[in-house]
Symmetry: C2
Subunit: 199 residues, 2 copies
């Protein structure tokens, strides 16, 4: 459904460009904006430009940061001898929610995927290697996604790291806690069997 | 999941305030914004303020407009003797899509709903009555939603209009085209029986 009003149609188009937002949702969102007070609409627009201009990448771990260093790299209480390598800033947030991990992170911003023309140089592997020069790092935990691309990336990086004498580990595979065995796929189940532990 | 970065968290909160947008979607939308180019982000923010400042209500029919009059009220080819009364600007767009209706509209911006403290004075009934003074209008079609509130609004307005000698009609009720009779609710079916026509 096209509206005759250019400013409205333009806003709908802007929302619709987002992944996972269909035409109806984009339209509802545009009407939400029209329903805001002038003050609120200004704040909304400002939030977009602010987020875009103020958020950069941490110069050490490449996670999102609004300063030179992200809060984790800046902290004195984090264990700098362990680096957990993830694909995306959202993965950092997911691991932080466990409150179990006390080391630092490295965000690759993607995974090696020849199909999409993403090679080792397109993701932040160089930056990771640069962090390993001063002997503080003892272990690197590969926490890339359990997908073909994530696996390939983990393998590639582990081959670069092993000659340096750094321990490289990988997140455990297995059935998710709370899930139903019946619905687990075969690959996950066979990995869970392989990785079984004594009780 | 809370991010430590205020500008990012603020943007997520802004998206999350929209109806029907959950936390995960808001987060994905915020990351979409971070992934835009500086130019695109500026355009997105501008689309919001533009839509908000440029779009007002048509001074005749209360539909959305970016000038004094909406394109339909301004047009010479529309039949000014018929007014179709709807609750929302989106309803105008829905009826326009049929390409069947050649009259004008009146947008109430809501329906009478005592439960939500919305009385006749909170919606654009006064503005509708003002359009009926010069005898050009012969028929008013009530196209409010087929809900309790929409019905009550249609009844209320028709009682105001009948003493003025204006024909008041209501959209037909019945089974939607393409639907399965089996799944039609009883009220719709009995209305469809009542309103049956000869073939």
């Amino acid at each position: 459904m096209a509206f005759n009003l250019a400013p409205l149609q333009n806003l709908i188009d802007q929302f619709e460009r987002m992944q996972g937002i269909g035409h109806k949702t984009a339209q509802r969102m545009a009407f939400y904006v029209l329903g805001l007070s002038a003050e609120q609409a200004k704040e909304f627009a400002k939030a977009i430009t602010d987020a875009h201009t103020k958020i950069k990448q941490c110069s050490v771990c490449c996670d999102l940061a609004d300063e030179e260093l992200c809060p984790i790299c800046k902290s004195n209480t984090r264990d700098k001898s362990v680096i957990c390598v993830v694909e995306d800033p959202r993965d950092v947030a997911a691991i932080e929610r466990t409150h179990e991990y006390k080391g630092t992170y490295h965000v690759l911003h993607g995974a090696i995927s020849p199909m999409d023309n993403i090679g080792p140089d397109q993701i932040r592997i160089k930056e990771l290697m640069a962090r390993l020069n001063d002997d503080t790092v003892e272990e690197v935990i590969m926490a890339t996604n359990p997908t073909v691309e994530g696996e390939a990336t983990a393998m590639y990086i582990s081959r670069l790291l092993k000659p340096l004498g750094i321990t490289v580990s990988r997140l455990a595979y297995g059935v998710p806690v709370g899930a139903d065995l019946e619905y687990a796929d075969e690959v996950t189940l066979s990995r869970a069997l392989e990785g079984r532990s004594l009780i």
